[in-house]
């Protein structure tokens, strides 16, 4: 049933994406708002503080929040423009139902709810409980994330709940749990300030976490050396002390080789290694053959640069290693992360001031959202759904029989595969646009078309929502109170600035009513968001991500509290491991041997070029909201194919030429952007777009065996000139964005 009801053009006419701009003199009340509401940006894991201007229950603009300690008023372009969503003409203001041949028509909540519940029951009665799956997202607050975990297990009674964090930081989570027994950035960003060396691997900070840039520049003002590992010369790398232009997929080879150099030169902290870690010997045995020649061949980085980086890192007294999706979006994502952790542990520089390590969480609540149970294998407090003790504790908190607690379910992409195989027949999704964000999305589309019933809760009709039978009009970030946990582990307060407009509802309200109609009313009786949080505190108590000591009041009074915070009188923990007691069973930090292996699809004669994907500063993830904000889209209107002049020359490609990129999964056309700032053997396409502009038509759906993250960062492709030029008008601004 989930094929598009009408042509895609008609749906776009009705629901966008349309570009919206503020009126020439700003929205009504911009000069004299009724109130300024302190909250946070809805986009990335930095969760910058911002004040929203409210007039007549509408968002009228923003004002920098200079007192918030992380960003002190600083914002990126997405943060500045985030206020444009509430007034957006594409906003879904009422529940919608799919009408064959017509598109989507407004319906009432009664119909949306009763239809949904009857379909859930029909599918589950016919095919079994797990045939109805749920996909969620981590732009949602902790409260919603927690409630979704509970909703899927208690009300839907399905094992198949997963979330879009599966495309985000699960590799980091997997690695961190193995090494430290806990999944959080080890330090607050304040520890960057006086680090002597900062190593940034696969993190385009300047475009994806722009407000973190200040911390790095501040460190450099204080004398820090900066090493950037990235196949492209990203803005952060331009002035870096070392830029290691790595071949996509070569990360564990690089860090393995660096570890060997550290060992060979005895740039090691033996005291720390001997007393507080385990597995060192096996780990260095695994890299004993990784000499510089081998490393140069497998990373594509010159020997000199690798040695310099190892020396800079090895000899430092303080340091901070940061990584993000660049090393994590791989079939060996967890191994890449572990190889980074290995060089951190070997240096002994952790758990001290200005000695830090961490992944930079991508999504707004990528941190909190991955702790409280909306992963397929997880229960609140970062507990394990297969661990009998954990199951027992949470069952008690939830007031269910442990036997009724579903087991481990399928991860996000595995769910799509199960839909495709006909095992999953129905789905409810919230805050996830898999048709844009999952790899090999032609396959994803086929899967969606096979669903018997699909309900989507969203604020805009995303590419995926177009396949829904029922669309429930949910709430924006500024329309529901809650908390999120930033990438540095700081729990902050999201305030409700306005009530949901029109006939929309708070997401929490929608889920509670569904639970009610599924017969679980009393387990979802939360009058306020704070009540959900208070249950979450209890549910997380004793887990590794312990929020018990955090209250709304404490969060507001302190402008954020870092977890773990186990008791009410505890001030929170900005820096982990100061006591050198790790959360692993033996209390030690674990080295993990990592042997380099190639990516799942390496270039060959037929597909000779490496394709990698990523983001641009003006867009956020699948673009459901940012592709609707006029100024953000104008800054980079359509995806371009970044290609080095030498590779371009081989194919006779010039700037603006429209190039067909082909992989074993699909093909698409992109205008060429010929720049020297990318490796000669690699091309890059940003992935924020859907339809024929989608880079994920090309990417490969092979997954990391541990984290199940897809390998977005490496696949093999062919390039073909089409003989056409890209639309000058559209692409010009992206090439040269001075307007």
């Amino acid at each position: 049933m989930a094929k598009l009801p009408v042509s895609v053009d008609k749906i776009i006419d009705d629901f966008g994406p349309h570009k919206a701009y503020a009126p020439q003199t700003g929205f009504h009340g911009n000069s004299e708002p009724d109130k300024l509401v302190k909250t946070h940006c809805c986009y990335c894991g930095m969760q910058c503080g911002i004040k929203l201007k409210v007039k007549d229950n509408k968002i009228a603009g923003f004002e920098p929040w200079e007192e918030f300690p992380f960003n002190e008023g600083r914002l990126c372009p997405k943060g500045v423009m985030r206020y444009m969503q509430n007034n957006h003409p594409d906003r879904i203001l009422s529940p919608l139902k799919r009408v064959e041949g017509k598109g989507f028509e407004t319906t009432d909540w009664e119909h949306a709810m009763s239809k949904t519940v009857s379909e859930i029951k029909r599918i589950q009665d016919t095919y079994g409980k797990d045939a109805f799956a749920m996909l969620s997202g981590v732009s949602l607050t902790n409260e919603k994330s927690y409630m979704i975990g509970k909703f899927a297990r208690v009300a839907l009674k399905t094992a198949n709940l997963d979330y879009n964090g599966r495309l985000c930081m699960v590799s980091a989570g997997g690695g961190n749990k193995k090494a430290f027994g806990l999944d959080r950035t080890s330090n607050s960003w304040a520890d960057l300030k006086h680090a002597e060396v900062i190593l940034v691997a696969g993190a385009n900070i300047s475009e994806t976490f722009p407000t973190l840039t200040h911390y790095i520049w501040q460190a450099r003002d204080n004398g820090a050396k900066l090493i950037v590992v990235d196949p492209r010369m990203i803005p952060l790398a331009r002035t870096a002390d070392l830029h290691l232009p790595i071949r996509p997929g070569g990360d564990s080879a690089l860090f393995g080789a660096m570890l060997k150099i550290m060992v060979d030169n005895d740039w090691l902290d033996h005291d720390f290694i001997d007393n507080y870690t385990s597995g060192f010997q096996e780990t260095i045995d695994a890299v004993k053959d990784y000499d510089l020649d081998w490393a140069e061949e497998n990373t594509g980085i010159s020997k000199e640069l690798i040695y310099q980086a190892a020396e800079m890192w090895g000899k430092a007294n303080t340091s901070f290693l940061l990584h993000a999706r660049g090393i994590e979006h791989h079939t060996k994502g967890v191994e890449n992360v572990l190889s980074c952790i290995n060089i951190v542990l070997a240096s002994g520089r952790i758990g001290r001031p200005y000695c830090g390590y961490g992944t930079i969480t991508g999504q707004g609540n990528g941190q909190g959202g991955r702790e409280h149970g909306h992963k397929c294998d997880q229960l609140p407090g970062n507990r394990d759904i297969t661990n009998p003790e954990h199951r027992k504790y949470i069952s008690e908190v939830w007031g269910i029989d442990e036997k009724d607690m579903p087991g481990k379910g399928l991860s996000a992409y595995e769910q799509i595969e199960a839909i495709h195989r006909g095992e999953i027949k129905g789905m409810i999704s919230i805050c996830f646009n898999p048709l844009v964000s999952l790899p090999n999305n032609n396959f994803v589309r086929e899967a969606l078309e096979k669903l018997e019933f699909y309900i989507c809760i969203d604020t805009f009709l995303s590419e995926t929502a177009r396949h829904a039978d029922i669309v429930m009009a949910g709430s924006l970030h500024e329309e529901e109170e809650g908390t999120v946990t930033t990438a540095e582990g700081r729990v902050v307060k999201i305030n409700e600035a306005i009530t949901p407009p029109g006939n929309t509802r708070r997401d929490g309200q929608i889920l509670m009513e569904l639970a009610d109609r599924l017969g679980e009313k009393e387990k979802f009786a939360f009058p306020t968001s704070e009540d959900i949080f208070n249950e979450l505190r209890v549910a997380s108590k004793g887990g590794t991500a312990d929020y018990y000591g955090i209250t709304y009041q404490k969060v507001v009074d302190n402008m954020g509290i870092f977890w773990p915070c186990k008791t009410l009188d505890h001030p929170g923990t900005p820096r982990l491991w100061e006591d050198k007691k790790f959360e692993t069973p033996d209390g030690k930090a674990h080295f993990n041997p990592v042997s380099y292996r190639p990516a799942s699809e390496m270039p060959n004669k037929e597909y000779p070029v490496v394709l990698t994907t990523g983001r641009v500063v003006s867009q956020y993830l699948s673009g459901t909201s940012t592709r609707r904000i006029g100024k953000l889209l104008d800054q980079y209107p359509e995806p371009l194919l970044e290609i080095h002049p030498k590779l371009a020359f081989q194919y006779g490609i010039e700037n603006h030429d429209l190039i067909k990129v082909k992989t074993r999964r699909g093909e698409a056309e992109f205008p060429a952007h010929v720049v020297e700032t990318i490796r000669e053997d690699t091309v890059f396409i940003p992935y924020h777009w859907g339809g024929k502009h989608s880079a994920n038509q090309l990417t490969i759906d092979s997954l990391d065996p541990v984290s199940k993250i897809p390998e977005f960062k490496v696949c093999a492709c062919q390039l073909e000139k089409t003989g056409k030029k890209g639309s000058q008008h559209l692409t010009e601004t992206a090439y040269q964005s001075s307007l």
């Binding site: 701009y21 503020a22 009126p23 020439q24 003199t25 700003g26 911009n30 000069s31 603009g61 923003f62 920098p64 200079e66 960003n71 008023g73 600083r74 914002l75 990126c76 372009p77 943060g79 500045v80 423009m81 300047s206 475009e207 722009p210 407000t211 973190l212 840039t213 200040h214 520049w217 501040q218 003002d221 010369m233 990203i234 803005p235 952060l236 331009r238 002035t239 500063v617 003006s618 100024k631 953000l632 800054q635 002049p645 700037n655 010929v674 720049v675 020297e676 700032t677 090439y735 040269q736 964005s737 001075s738 307007l739």
Partner: protein, 189 residues
């Protein structure tokens, strides 16, 4: 009439080598009420084919502004704080003299409105004791608004420079550019 709380202790400092080209300043500039959703700040790639280097340019508020001198309509006014204001809307005839003569490439001509507009250091905010929008939001602090003492403490190896040499012409400005320590002038060859 408007009371002014313009704080002359506060100054503007630019270091375009910190700029990451994110355009946050540009988006925020349009929120400044004196220019009604038009952005007055310029962010552009220097040579994108070769480098991701971007530059960011606010009005430098020259001590003897070329733009005001070449204006045939006396439309550009420098106030007692040294802020060079956007064109007086009733006088500006849209001739573009200022656009083409400004050595920093700052003024913008709004073609259809027959009007030049330029950065006035967020006068609605600075005159109320607030910081300009661009410098407040700049995530890399390539744009900084604060006291000279603050910036000297934060960036001890740099020197705020407000003198420029364009060909034979020396231009002194209210806005500073952060240069290597010991430099007193930026010479544009």
């Amino acid at each position: 009439m408007p009371e002014t709380n313009y704080d002359q202790e506060m100054a503007f400092f630019v270091d375009m080598q910190r700029c990451i080209g994110c355009h946050a300043c540009e988006m925020a500039c349009a929120e400044c009420e004196t220019n009604g959703q038009e952005s007055m700040i310029h962010v552009n790639y220097v040579d994108r084919a070769k480098s991701p280097q971007t530059t960011v340019q606010v009005c430098m508020h020259c001590e003897d502004p070329t733009c005001a001198n070449v204006c045939p309509a006396d439309a550009i006014h420098q106030d007692e704080f040294g802020v060079v204001h956007s064109a007086n809307t009733s006088r500006c005839i849209g001739c573009s003299n200022c656009v083409l003569a400004c050595p920093f490439g700052v003024p913008k001509k709004m073609e259809e409105a027959e009007l030049m507009m330029k950065c006035n250091m967020c006068y609605d905010r600075t005159s109320a004791g607030k910081k300009p929008m661009c410098a407040t939001v700049c995530p890399s602090q390539a744009l900084y608004f604060g006291t000279r003492e603050e910036i000297e403490r934060m960036r001890p190896d740099s020197e705020p420079v407000n003198s420029f040499m364009f060909g034979q012409q020396e231009v002194n400005t209210k806005v500073n550019i952060m240069m290597p320590k010991g430099t007193h002038q930026l010479i544009i060859p």
